[in-house]
Amino acid sequence: MSVLTLKNISLTLSDKKILHNVNLEFLPGKIHALVGPNGAGKSSLAFTIMGLEGYRKFEGDIIFKGESLKDKSIDQRAKLGITLAWQEPARYEGLAISSFLEAAYSPEKGFKPEEALLKSGLAPDLYLKRAVDKTLSGGERKKVELASILAMMPQVVLLDEPDSGIDIESLERIFDAIKILKKRGSTVILITHSLKVLEHAEDAFLLCCGHLMEKGSGHSMCRYFKGKCMPCDHQNMPEADDAK
């Protein structure tokens, strides 16, 4: 029984069709991956699930635990248990990391801000009072974002390119955090270009030019990285050619 179901999702942005009748099911407590070349529609699909500005007008339906998300705002979706971590997390001038984490903290389910920070690989005594601003490196900001998700402990987490801008050691901490989310029953949806990230997924979906091309185990989808845009011959140039 899926926790999140996408039914015939089609999305058009600026007269360009970005997603074509995408049907997907995400299972509770599993780690899924969305893979595909640039412009495949992976992030657009994640933004549509989260209901971000500009991604609210789509065809089809998104069902979360039997309830349609179509008319729900971002915060309503979050309160139901869905969240998103951006590839490039936002910066906030003057906003302390402690306040940022406290805003996400769910006392019933989540880790306390100090604990969440520690589990994301950042020392609370060094970071809690710092601001979520440009003084943090890209990697530090991603860890702070992940800490806020551990503090929230949602049922479905969309992680957009969790490895971008991250060094090898930090990446291991991020994988540890993903394991914690899974252990606590969260469904994790990884949006990735990385074989290393894909290896942590149990199920994977290949998108190309907004079409769902293939579903399979994370392991089986590793062929995508070796054989390029299998099973189509699309050459990673979505503007030049439709996959189907």
Binding site: I74, D75, A78, I82, L95, M152
Partner: protein, 309 residues
Amino acid sequence: MPNNDALRLYKTAHIDKALDDPNVAHLTISHDKVISSQSLPGLNVIPKEIKDGVDIKIVLEEGVVIKNPVHMCFGMLKQEGVQRIILDIDIKPKASIFVIAHCIFPDAVKVQHLMNGKIKVGEHASYTYLEKHIHADSGGVEVVPKARVMLSDYARFKTDFELLQGRVGKIEIDYETICLAHSVMEMTAKINGSGDDVIKINESALLEGEGARGVLTSRVALRQNARAEVFNKIIATAPFTRGHVDCKEIVQDKAIASATPIVEVRDPKAHVTHEAAIGSVDSKQLQTLMSRGLSEEEAVALIIQGLLS
């Protein structure tokens, strides 16, 4: 023993405990009366009561370093009236002081607070000044602080102006600084406007000594029908001077904001930059917080709280 007016001012500013410390200097003025003061060796504070206010001469003797912040309380507990504060501050060479001014107008319906400051910071001396305003929610306060600041060689001057509690009413800041060689100046204003508040910030710095540095920073949040005009000007006339103007204003509802950063360079070895951003709350910031479960209003409040922190 402080009188009732003083106690109320201290409690409003949350400084009642700090002022119990005999090592903390302070000066408390309620309307046009000096109601309490305490000085420290090397710090000479000479207040003189004048019509509707107080004329204060402060001299920090050469080489004297005051470790604890010095508190100055300028309050007006009446609903109506004018308070004039004339400040003449002379920080002698190699001296250092941090002053926190609490400007408290909790019941104001029609109050004018006029401050006229002349500040001289001597060679290798440091003067840090934080001015925190606490106003009534009525918007009946008009604040007009003016200061002319002269920084000697290697002097440091840092000032923060905060008006975050209560309604602004009307405010017109006018600060001008002249920076001699290798001096450092930082001026920051943080103001939260609402209702029909009117905010004018006019800050300028003349970097006329070699190697002088200055930063002018403004952070303003506006909602409802509030209006703000920010004029920040840095003129660099000497080699190796460095300046930066940074203005950010968040506008909601029917509020109107404008920013005019002026940078002028009269020496090819000087470098002055500016940035100004005016608009609504950043969409990614907002949506990130909403995706953690905050409502739009809660998310905007948190973003503004950070900006003005």
